[in-house]
């Protein structure tokens, strides 16, 4: 209980620090939100009105105090440009972001873990000679290039998948669930997911492999072999389970950062997502939207980190004992 409470205080502290850094960072950055309105703003009066409307006529300290007060009430403010509450805007794009990033994470980790374990077992064979460079190459390939290749081949050459967006143009659905589980949505999801998965699989694969190699040196593996256990049982039940721990942490953190979206993949496939939202917000100096969205992402990341710690305890009794003692 005490442990949980400590963690909670710790989390709030981190959020406050991140919020403060964000608040000042965006305001210190050169550029002004008025710039995006210059084309329409003709008079000095109008500019003053905008400044007042954005609350930028107050002193920095005052603005910061207001920001903290609102934040403590869960109010992240209103976007300068969309003229809507930040939370609404973020929640609008979050589902699509999560579906894309989580789907590719799961594919990447399932594939990466299996392939990593297998490559470790095949250490020294020609399979490793081909497999490792291949994993490294796909990991290092720029995402936009990978995305364009996918588009050129699967969308334009074969015409198997649509080239962009999340739904066919003009398609209407009765409910959000129906939309997400429609064949149309899934076919739009395929290419961006695959692109992102190919990019992501390198980490779990290499991590799994090196952990496996370490675990396979341990005495209990030798013991298993002596007991005459089958290869499958040794690799999966004994070695893989132990090697999985760091990969589980990486996965949980991956899920956390997945909330931030992936601006490159979102742009290449015109996929609606939070990455695009953030880039636009930052480049237009939309302070409330930018800091609000980053703050939400931070919060999710912190929570996922916390969950990762807890899972660790569940997966590994040794950690559990260490904390309680």
């Amino acid at each position: 209980m005490r442990y949980l409470f400590n963690r909670l205080v710790h989390m709030i502290l981190v959020l406050w620090v991140v919020g403060t850094v964000l608040f000042f960072m965006f305001r210190i950055m050169p550029g002004t939100p008025l710039a995006a309105f210059i084309d329409q703003t003709t008079t000095a009066e109008q500019q003053q009105a905008l400044i007042a409307q954005f609350g930028l006529d107050k002193s920095l300290g005052e603005q910061y105090w207001l920001f903290l007060v609102n934040l403590s009430q869960g109010d992240l403010g209103q976007s300068f440009f969309f003229k809507k509450p930040v939370v609404d805007i973020v929640l609008e794009v979050l589902p699509n972001t999560l579906i894309l990033t989580l789907a590719s994470l799961v594919i990447a980790y399932v594939f990466g873990i299996l392939a990593g374990a297998w490559l470790a077992w095949k250490r020294g064979s020609w399979i490793e000679g081909v497999g490792i460079p291949l994993a490294l190459t796909t990991r290092a390939a720029p995402e936009f290039w990978l995305g364009m290749v996918m588009l050129a081949v699967f969308a334009f050459q074969f015409g198997w998948f649509p080239a962009g967006g999340a739904n066919a143009s003009g398609a209407a659905w009765d409910s959000e669930w129906q939309r997400i589980f429609s064949l149309d949505y899934l076919s739009h999801l395929a290419l961006p997911t695959l692109t992102l998965a190919i990019y992501l699989q390198g980490l779990p694969l290499l991590l799994m492999r090196s952990n496996m190699l370490e675990v396979l040196q341990e005495e209990f593996i030798t013991m298993g072999k002596m007991k005459g256990l089958s290869t499958r049982t040794i690799v999966l039940r004994h070695a893989a389970r132990n090697a999985l721990l760091p990969v589980a942490t990486a996965f949980a953190l991956g899920v956390g950062s997945a909330v931030g979206g992936n601006v490159v993949v979102e742009t290449v496939f015109s996929w609606p997502g939070i990455g695009r939202l953030l880039v636009n917000a930052v480049s237009a100096s939309d302070y409330p939207l930018a800091q609000g969205a980053f703050l939400i992402i931070t919060a999710v990341l912190i929570v996922m980190n916390f969950i990762a710690d807890i899972t660790y305890q569940l997966l590994d009794p040794r950690v559990r004992v260490a904390t309680t003692a």
Binding site: A36, T42, K83, G164, G165, S169, A172
Partner: protein
């Protein structure tokens, strides 16, 4: 120390000839006849990623000005940072690349002619270069109150000639824009090419006729939509949508001039200070209620209230009186004639349903504006009805068959497509059939059209233009001759080809050739070249010596480095 031929030649023309015999002395003597050196200069530009053409042009220009003995460094900044320097620190910069973009309401020259160079807009308005010329102010003011179109054109010509003479900008090009649509889906004869705007315009969207079963027009936008609100325009994309949902009293016609739209007639009194608007009969809102003169009065008075629609306020503030004598008639009074009123007010403001918006405006708290209201029904009276908007994905409108000008297509769909190359592929695959926002290489588009005979390409010269701006507040740019020389040094043809790949028209006026009625063709003949520029500078007393440019005798640089 060597004496250059150039120095000797110049010396030959000076009275200091006697000192030649003393070897090193002539150099010093030459210095005495010239002022201080011109400081090193920074030419600002957008970044290469944001505007590759502009950046390329900046690099070339810096190099060319180098030949005049100037040390010019190009500094690229992201858009907001650039605006921060140029727009808000007006005394602190020397040179910048800049652009003005075309919009439908800019097909009246008033906005550019008045705002860009009138002295009253120098402090905080559009005249960010700080250009001052009473003669120009006079022409700009007069054209505004001259109702007779031909007489006004003379004044617009005059304004262009003054700018040509003074060169506060070194105009470069009017960029060409490219559009494409599927000739297999739509009948090309029903597509309108509007001056300065190209085929993506209001008239095309209500008249374009499908050939077969595909009755949806699916077009792209490379920018997100910010809002869909008749009182809030925050980007070009927003206005493409609002102009279809909400009617306006007038519209910019196919010829680029305003014509009655929701009005059956717009009649002016002889003094051109009072206009009587008669609405069409039988107009209805999308919810079935009739459109009345009261709605029109509401639409033109609401923005004038404080903090309702700040973007529209300047356009309605000039109306001094407005009333609705009967259900179809609106009478507006101005305190003086305003030649741009039809274009910049009557053809710009949306007619908004009073029964929907009046209660909403009443709920506004201090500091809030109508811009922050999300009115979900988006009821207008225009040729298209709002269906849905999925942020970052698409906005869907459907034809309004009850309208007096019913569209031929069933639905108008704008998809947000950020990847230009994918957009081209989508045109081929049929996922899209109208390329309304092509930001890629025009050459690629032409190749695609060669491979696919159904792809129709349309190009249009922009109303907007690209230029290098001189800060007229700071020496040496306060000297007209100096600005002229720098402007004349730029080989426009080279810039057009090297930076814009030839996809642009040469510019030397703030009234684009896309507006043939207003553009003065006399300004088109600009002789350029470094030689001409050097001759101009030397005639005015500037001295280029040893690769450095010096002020005329007696002048020094107030900002010397």
């Amino acid at each position: 120390m060597t004496i250059r031929r150039r120095d000797l030649l110049r010396l030959a023309g000076t009275t200091a000839l006697s000192s030649v015999a003393f070897g090193a002395l002539p150099f010093r003597a030459a210095r005495a006849a010239e002022g201080g050196p011109v400081r090193s200069l920074t030419l600002y530009s957008r970044t290469q990623a944001a505007n590759p053409q502009q950046y390329q042009a900046a690099e070339l220009i810096a190099q060319i000005w180098g030949e005049l003995g100037l040390k010019v460094t190009v500094q690229a900044l992201p858009n907001t940072q650039l605006s921060d320097v140029i727009w808000y620190k007006r005394d602190e910069w020397d040179l910048t690349m800049w652009q003005m973009v075309g919009r439908p309401e800019r097909s009246d020259p008033d906005e550019f002619v008045y705002n860009l160079f009138h002295s009253t807009t120098a402090e905080t308005g559009y005249n960010f270069v700080g250009y001052q010329n009473p003669e120009y102010d006079k022409a700009a003011e007069e054209q505004r109150v001259t109702a007779d179109r031909d007489a006004r054109r003379e004044l617009i010509y005059r304004a262009q000639q003054i700018i040509n003479e003074d060169q506060p900008y070194a105009f470069l090009v009017y960029p060409e824009k490219f559009y494409a649509y599927s000739g297999a889906v739509f009948d090309p004869a029903t597509v309108t090419d509007q001056p300065g705007l190209g085929v993506k315009n209001f008239w095309t969207f209500i008249e374009i006729t499908p050939k077969g079963d595909q009755k949806d027009l699916v077009m792209n936008s490379s920018n997100e939509l910010n809002a869909c609100n008749p009182f809030y325009i925050s980007g070009a994309q927003d206005s493409w949508v609002t102009e279809l949902i909400w009617d306006r009293v007038m519209r910019i016609g196919k010829d680029g001039l305003p014509q009655p739209w929701a009005a059956e007639s717009v009649v002016w009194n002889d003094a051109a200070t009072e206009c009587t608007i008669t609405l069409r009969e039988g107009m209805a809102w999308h919810d079935g209620k009739p459109v009345t003169a009261e709605d029109v009065v509401f639409s033109f008075t609401a923005p004038s209230q404080d903090n309702t629609a700040p973007m529209y306020k300047p356009f309605t503030d000039i109306i001094t009186g407005i009333e609705a004598p009967d259900a179809r008639t609106v009478v507006m009074t101005l305190d003086q004639p305003n030649a741009a009123f039809e274009t910049s007010t009557l053809a710009k403001l949306n007619i908004v349903p009073k029964h929907v918006w009046e209660p909403l405006l009443a709920t506004l708290k201090p500091g809030e504006t109508a811009e922050s209201i999300t009115e979900e029904s988006r009821i207008g009276s225009g040729p298209f009805r709002f269906v849905r908007w999925l942020p970052q994905q698409e906005i869907v409108l459907e034809a309004n068959p009850e309208h007096w000008a019913p569209p031929k297509i069933d639905r108008w769909i704008m998809r947000i497509v950020l990847n230009v190359a994918a957009g081209l592929g989508m045109m081929k695959s049929g996922e899209m059939n109208f390329m309304s926002d092509y930001t890629g290489d025009p050459e690629l588009l032409k190749q695609a059209a060669e491979e696919d005979k159904d792809l129709v390409i349309a190009e249009a010269v922009d109303i907007g233009f690209q230029y290098a701006a001189f800060n007229c507040r700071r020496p040496p740019f306060d000297d007209k001759v100096f600005r002229r020389a720098l402007s004349f040094a730029i080989p426009r043809k080279l810039i057009q080809n090297a930076a814009w790949n030839g996809f642009a028209a040469l510019a030397n006026s703030h009234v684009s050739e896309a507006l043939p009625f207003w553009h003065d063709p006399e300004t088109d003949t600009l002789e350029t070249g470094v030689k001409i520029a050097k001759a101009m500078l030397e005639e005015a007393g500037y001295v280029i010596s040893d690769g450095t440019l010096y002020y005329p005798e007696g002048k020094t640089d107030p900002f010397s480095d």
